[in-house]
Amino acid sequence: MSAKCRLIVFCLSAIPFAIVYLAAAKNLPPWGHYRGPYGDVISSLSVYERHTTDVVNAIDYDYRGFDTLGEEYILFASVLGVMLLLRDPNPKSGTADEGQGLSKTVKFGSAACFGLLLIFGFYICTHGQLTPGGGFQGGVIIATAFMLIYIAENLKSFKAITSHPLMEALEALGAGLYAVTGVSALLVGAPFLTNWLPLGTAGDVFSSGTIAVISASVGLEVAAGFILLSYTYLEDIISGGGKVS
């Protein structure tokens, strides 16, 4: 199909599509008048039943924790997929020249930011059950902290950290830990992913039982996963570029 023909078909079908979409939306509850029972029930229950103050995390890691297990493995599968697609059949070991372009201030600044971001990421990871945030958000923040090393052009240490086989093991550990938490419930005789740990007092960092454990494992998985992703993309550039095919 030529580009023009494509555009015509698109325009012709966009109008009925929009009509169909809006005809459906017309019968949705009006904007800002959420009616449904699901959210309200969970909202009123979760503080008492799960001792979490952030209901979204209670849903993500407990009520609908099984979804999040699937979601973690989507990330896991896609990290494996990226490594599979971008694999180098005959990898090189060299490292590109260290950049000298950045001033000491920038380097120092990014090192300081690295520490700050790391701490912030850990904070977000561990306080998911109390305040907005959680393993996922914290994990991405930790991963971006490691990107700072790259931006500071400290290629050797970036490569040493991110290309280490342990990073892959950590990623798999994060994913596996989630599944293990689920299986552990089977071992105490409860259904998969049951929150069987003591719940603690609401508002405490160590409250909410397995929610905290799962949040931590998700944080580990996400952080390691994103670091691996960025390394896989950068590998080519860092090692002085693969051969041209």
Partner: protein, 602 residues
């Protein structure tokens, strides 16, 4: 005592994590062995679940969140015979695929096995979940693993394009599904399918109808129904053989499974007592797909694309069966899914052997190259007969059941469609058989797609074909035949399908009410005679088509019309343009047309 339904999900996921962690340290064989053992464990667990779900559907609430009143708080699994059967099938095929790739084929630095396990886990979860959003999550998990697996052979550009097209179209489909799910959530405020079904009742305003359309569109893209089918040949022609087996053998069927599951559990009473646009749409689309897939299958000259288009054709027939929608038709559908997946997997494994020995998948290049490979030839020939629906194969039984499920016009239409689809797809496979293994006729026309480079999947070259290459192909075809000798096959599938089709039964099971055994419909007469007659007619037509295609140059000019069918389908292949933009346009046009149709007919 049945195993926990969480086991078939958790075990492969755990094993995938272990394998991914240890992939650089463990030897190849150890990783293969672990993966095969896990698939075996899954097979046992699923078969066990299938057995114990026979009396009562097994309901399992994750995180111990039992519903409060009608409010389902957590995510529930519902294992009924139909779902458990598909999960068993998925585990069986994964086991065979992993066995096939044992030790030799390129495993992408051992990333292949963990991805296969994630794929397996997603398929098992997809078959058993009773939660709409969870269904979407498993849909995405399945897709993500599939996209990655499809692009395994990164040495050439073709696989990347194939998997890119696959990924774009299927992701667009996932967004349609998610939009539909969001609509339903807005309408009812629930995510459990039983609860949504209960709350919707027989409501059929535009919201419900459009939600149904969007959800089905996503699943029909997975099921490769015209006009959503474009990704499938591209993905199949580039994916490695074991992955092709999973795509054709189970993933496509799972799209249709989700259509039936969602269609009964949620929209079961939507059109109660009304003319049903959904069913009519399925019948029309199914028929179109069956014919189009068959014609394109006959027009292709790349072996894997021939098989891919025949999958589209059969997928269309399956949708047609769903459109008939009576318990007998769905019982036939269940048998058809098993039979088709066995036969098609057998054919793909055989194509893999050919690729291994002769290093190409192009029919003109393979011409007369396979004369020595007798066993392979026999397998290929048997597969062709199975596709056409020749009686010892279970596909014949299934076709008979589906066509006799309806009466009058349905009977005639289904019979004719099965004949066309069987003759065209079987004819294409037999044509390849005659050219490649017998060396009859001439090379035949080539086309661009038949020249997609394909590197062999193995690292080393040997002239001996190892046993683990033959075994899966032979086993698949043997099971495809053996199924039809299973005692009480029809009765078992009928009791599974009437449970599968009962919305009341689904809701009762979820809310742990006593399940009343529904009245089982009466089976149509066995009619072995008409079954054999139909099978012989199809294989006869297929043979005629194949012989004509192979020898048409020796015929007088006027009788050469099949060559037009075979060679001058250029305009049809133009539609299959290999550009994701085109595929998305077709998808969108399809959704727009269907949407208008649904809204008007509502």
């Amino acid at each position: 005592m049945a195993p926990s339904p969480a086991l078939p999900i958790a075990a492969p996921l755990l094993c995938a994590a272990v394998l991914a962690a240890l992939r650089k340290w463990l030897p190849r064989r150890a990783i293969d062995l672990l993966a095969i053992l896990t698939a075996l464990l899954n097979l046992v667990a699923c078969a066990w679940l299938l057995r114990s779900s026979w009396r009562h559907s097994i309901v399992y609430w994750f995180g111990n969140w039992f519903p409060r009143g009608h409010m389902a708080l957590g995510i529930g699994f519902l294992v009924d015979p139909a779902g458990a059967m598909l999960a068993t099938l998925a585990a069986f095929l994964t086991l065979l695929a992993l066995t096939y790739s044992w030790g030799r084929s390129d495993s992408g630095q051992n990333l292949f096995q963990p991805l296969m396990l994630v794929f397996l886990s997603a398929m098992s979860g997809f078959c058993m979940t009773a939660d709409l959003f969870n269904l979407f999550v498993f849909f995405e998990l399945m897709s993500t693993a599939a996209f990655a697996l499809c692009g395994l052979k990164t040495q050439e550009p073709a696989p990347l394009q194939g998997s890119f097209n696959f990924a774009i179209t299927n992701t667009v489909g996932a967004f349609f599904t998610l939009t539909g799910i969001a609509f339903l959530y807005g309408a009812t405020g629930a995510l459990n399918m039983a609860q949504i079904g209960l709350l919707l009742g027989s409501r059929h305003d535009s919201l419900v109808v459009v939600a149904a359309l969007f959800i089905f569109s996503g699943f029909l893209i997975k099921a490769a129904i015209v006009p959503f089918h474009f990704w499938l040949p591209d993905a199949h022609s580039v994916a490695p053989t074991p992955v092709c087996v999973l795509f054709s053998g189970i993933m496509v069927e799972l799209g249709l499974f989700a259509v039936v599951r969602v269609g009964t559990a949620i929209f079961g009473s939507t059109f109660a007592g009304l003319p049903d646009p959904m069913r009519l749409g399925f019948l029309v689309l199914g028929g179109l797909t069956a014919i189009w897939g068959g014609v394109m299958s006959f027009a292709e000259h790349h072996l894997k694309r021939v098989l891919a288009f025949s999958t589209i054709s059969h997928s269309g027939m399956m949708l047609f069966a769903i459109g008939i929608g009576s318990p007998i038709a769905i019982a036939g559908w269940l048998i058809y899914v098993c039979a088709h997946s066995m036969i098609k997997s057998g054919l793909f494994f055989t194509a893999g052997i050919l690729l291994h020995r002769l290093r190409t998948m192009s029919e003109p290049l393979l011409f007369a190259q396979g004369k020595e490979l007798r066993f392979t030839a026999a397998l290929w020939f048997l597969g062709g007969c199975g596709l056409a629906g020749l009686p010892p194969f279970a596909s014949a039984v299934a076709e008979h059941m589906i066509s006799h499920a309806g009466s009058g016009r349905f009977l005639a239409a289904a019979t004719v469609l099965f004949l066309i689809s069987g003759a065209l797809t079987g004819g294409a496979v037999l044509r390849v058989f005659m050219r490649v293994f017998c060396g009859w006729g001439d090379k035949g026309p080539g086309d661009r797609a038949s020249q997609i480079d394909e590197l062999p999947e193995e690292n080393e070259e040997t002239q001996v074909i190892p046993v683990h290459f033959f075994a899966p192909a032979a086993l698949c075809l043997a099971v495809g035949i053996a199924l039809s000798f299973l005692p009480l096959l029809a009765d078992l599938s009928l009791s599974a399908s009437s449970r599968f089709l009962s919305q009341g039964g689904f809701i009762d099971a979820i809310y742990a009410r006593t399940q009343s055994p529904g009245a089982s419909p009466v089976l149509p007469g066995t009619g072995i005679g008409s079954m054999i007659g139909h099978g012989l007619a199809a294989i006869g037509l297929a043979l005629i088509l194949a012989v004509w295609a192979v020898f048409h140059r020796r015929l007088p000019r006027k009788m050469r019309w099949p060559s037009h069918l075979e060679g001058s389908m250029r305009w049809a292949r133009q539609i299959q343009s290999g550009q994701p933009a085109d595929y998305v346009v077709w998808t969108m046009a399809g959704v727009a047309v269907l949407g208008s149709f649904f809204l008007v007919l509502r």
